[in-house]
């Protein structure tokens, strides 16, 4: 009886020590789920999800505070990926957070720009260059199309321009012709 107790206690101690060691040795910094969710999000940093950036939204999803259908730039495909990752049901994009739009970039009308720097401060990815009372311009390849610079502009000189297809970015069409029920 006593030997059995001792053996069990011994095993418990050994396993406990091993687990304790493993918990320290293989500790994962940060939340890997947040990283995974963040990797799916489009990194537009537009805040349409009502969080200040993609990472905060990813954290909110991981905590269960936010739903997976609040990201318009990610679109339906993004929602599907999130649903797959989190084992949830797919749901259509929530309308209150916006609609999916074709990818665009901001364009500053340089004739109208007064050089107020408000758009520079609003840009989440530092894609606008310029200085006070100097003309500003958008560095196109860096622009995520978040539209955050549109509202602060006092002279409304920023417009969103859809990125045209070029020979480099042109894609072959999906060969399947979808059949739709006619009305």
């Amino acid at each position: 009886m006593l030997s059995a107790l001792l053996i069990m206690t011994g095993i418990a101690l050994v396993l406990g020590a091993a687990l304790g060691y493993a918990a320290i040795r293989f500790k994962v910094e940060g939340d890997p789920l947040v990283e995974k969710i963040d990797a799916i999000l489009p990194q537009t940093q537009c805040g349409q999800c009502s969080y200040p950036g993609c990472k905060p939204y990813a954290e909110a999803i991981a905590k269960g505070e936010a739903d997976i259908n609040q990201c318009p730039p990610g679109g339906e495909e993004g929602i599907r990926k999130l649903a797959d990752l989190l084992g949830r049901e797919f749901k259509p994009l929530s309308e209150e957070h916006g609609v999916e739009k074709p990818k665009s970039v901001a364009l500053i009308d340089e004739q109208t720009c007064i050089g107020c720097t408000l758009c520079i401060q609003a840009c989440p990815v530092d894609a606008i260059v310029g200085a006070a009372k100097q003309m500003h311009t958008v560095v196109e390849p860096l622009c995520t199309g978040c539209e955050l610079c549109l509202a602060p502009c006092p002279v409304d000189c920023i417009t969103m321009v859809q990125i045209p297809d070029t020979v480099q970015t042109w894609k072959w069409k999906y060969p399947v012709i979808e059949l739709r029920k006619s009305a």
Partner: protein
């Protein structure tokens, strides 16, 4: 000499249709009224325009500078005037525009000064730079820059010259080998020297006996180990990996290049262009292409780059029932979305298609899992799996099944009993995967920049706070120095802000006391008198209390009193 030939997996035997144009000698195509030269001569790099409208250029004068590692120069195909630099449609399935230089020929066709390049005395780098500056790209269709392909100067044992021309209908390489065998082999021996290969093997499909004979006759004049080998006619024997397999038995695994196995492959047309570039200093401004299909006069023409396709079609006179025009062969080519597009360096064939010659595709039926496509696939893939994954948009899985090993040869679609356009699915999946990769790298960049911006804002905030704290500490230290112990040090400890305000007040008071009003000292009698008068007026106007000394309340002076 090659001891034996090997087989590659799969392959198909479509009707060759070579006889239509194979007996027509290469003729120069007449000069069009306008040449539209795209600065993008491959899908990888666009040259930078260095001419402006109105400028006169000579034949072979450079109009585009190479940009990037994969860039090659672009030259004026004839002498004339640059009339425009703008966007024009490209011969591409998308029909999208690209930057082009439009040249109006002056009819003189006057060459720029040409100098033969002595590659024996020059270094390898100089020779490769000469090829880049002459705009030499692979003329087999992929238009990969030759100087990059030659980049590795060591470790290559065998140079293969690709004269297989396995696609049906095309005869431009066949004619080139028949008529210019010596030039091709001279170019090949230059390539062999530049790449440091020991032997040279020319692979030609056995349905071109005249070309084989011509090349064999010319091979006698070339030093070293040269072999001209007839390979069995089986589509796609002209695929790079397939030809390497047939001639050397080397099977190139996934993601590797022939160069890693000591084999490098060049098209015969490229060898010819290399010869012209080095031996004569002529840039690549024209190429041989086949006009065939449903036409009255099929033929092979030496065509200037930038010649509109519609101009060429007038030469071969398509029959009335022609319904579309293909660029490239019927297996790998594509239907041109429009006919005003120019010939580019990769254009080897223009086929006029009619419903009788090229019946419209039959309706696609469900896959019956017969496995015919896997038997035909020369890349030894599982086309049906790739088809399912591509159709289901499961691109990750398609990549796991080595979608990018697919050479888009069209064998699978050719044999499919359900008439599934399999290659369309693979092209779609590949372009989607590329687009996703571009998006992903853009997203990664945006994430980095966003995180850096947040970090920067945080840092700026901290720096500001630190500066303020330092200033506060300095003031407090000064206060302590001044022996302001009686000014409630206990209070200062309890509320540093209040202490600061108190200190500031005390400082202001002290300053006021220390600095008396200067303009009331040492006054002259006149000024004193004046002041007294002014004060009297003020008292009269009841503006100030007579007890207040003059000069102490300058801010209280009303405008009336000063006037």
């Amino acid at each position: 000499m090659i001891a034996r030939l090997f087989n590659f997996h799969g392959g198909v035997k479509p009707d060759a249709h070579k006889n239509e144009s194979a007996n027509a000698p290469i003729q120069p195509a007449p000069m069009p009224s306008r040449l539209v030269v795209p600065l993008r001569q491959s899908t990888r790099a666009t040259a930078r325009c260095i001419v402006s409208p109105g400028q006169h250029v000579l034949k072979g004068e450079r109009i585009g500078d190479p940009e990037g590692t994969l860039g090659t120069a672009v030259h004026a195909p004839t002498s004339g005037t640059v009339v425009e630099f703008g966007l024009h449609p490209l011969a591409h399935p998308s029909g999208l525009n690209t930057r082009c230089v439009v040249i109006e020929p002056d009819g003189e066709d006057r060459w720029v000064e040409r100098h033969p390049f002595d590659y024996h005395t020059a270094t390898r780098e100089q020779a490769l730079a000469q090829l880049r500056d002459c705009g030499i790209v692979g003329l087999g269709g992929a238009t990969f820059p030759s100087h990059v392909k030659l980049g590795r100067g060591s470790g290559i044992d065998t140079l293969i010259l690709n004269g297989a021309e396995c696609e049906p209908w095309i005869t431009c390489d066949d004619r080139l080998m028949r008529e210019r065998a010596a030039d091709i082999l001279a170019g090949a021996s230059i390539l062999r020297e530049l790449i440091g290969a020991r032997r040279l093997v020319v692979g030609i499909e056995d349905n071109k006996p005249e070309a084989i004979a011509a090349m064999q006759a010319a091979a006698g004049g070339i030093e070293g180990d040269v072999a001209v080998v007839a390979v069995p006619s089986l589509y796609p024997a002209g695929g790079e990996k397939q030809l390497i397999r047939v001639l050397t038995g080397v099977e190139i695994p996934y993601g590797k290049l022939g160069a890693e196995f000591g084999v490098q492959c060049f098209n015969v047309g490229t060898a010819h262009a290399v010869y012209r570039a080095l031996a004569h200093g002529e840039p690549l401004i024209s190429r041989v292409l086949t006009l065939t299909g449903n036409v009255s006069r099929p033929g092979n023409y030496e065509v200037l780059i930038g010649t509109p396709i519609s101009h060429l079609l007038a030469l071969c006179a398509p029959k009335p029932d022609t319904d579309r025009t293909l660029m490239g062969g019927p297996m790998m080519g594509f239907a041109l979305p429009r006919l005003d597009v120019p010939v580019v360096k990769g254009t080897n064939c223009i086929i006029s298609a009619s419903p009788t010659l090229f019946p419209p595709p039959q309706p696609e039926q469900p896959c019956i899992r017969c496995g015919e496509c896997a038997r035909a696939c020369p890349a030894e893939l599982q086309p049906f799996e790739l088809y399912w994954f591509s159709r289901a948009l499961n691109f990750g899985k398609a990549q796991e099944y080595n979608l990018f090993d697919c050479i888009e040869c069209g064998c699978c679609s050719y044999v499919c009993p359900s008439h599934i356009p399999l290659v369309d699915y693979y092209r779609f999946a590949k372009s989607e995967i590329w687009a996703r990769e571009r998006e992903k790298s853009a997203a990664d960049q945006a994430r980095d920049r966003f995180e850096f911006r947040n970090y920067r804002q945080e840092r700026e905030k901290e720096e500001k706070a630190a500066k303020l704290a330092a200033k506060a500490a300095e003031t407090r230290a000064k206060m302590a120095d001044k022996g302001a112990a009686e000014e409630a040090p206990a209070n200062a400890d309890a509320d540093p802000k209040k202490a600061l305000i108190a200190a500031a007040l005390a400082r202001a008071k002290a300053q006021k006391e220390a600095a008396p009003v200067r303009n009331t000292e040492a006054l002259s009698p006149e000024t004193e008198k004046e002041i007294a008068e002014i004060d009297a007026r003020r008292i009269k106007a009841a503006l100030i209390d007579p007890a207040t000394p003059a000069g102490d309340t300058p801010s209280e002076r009303s405008p009336e009193s000063t006037s």
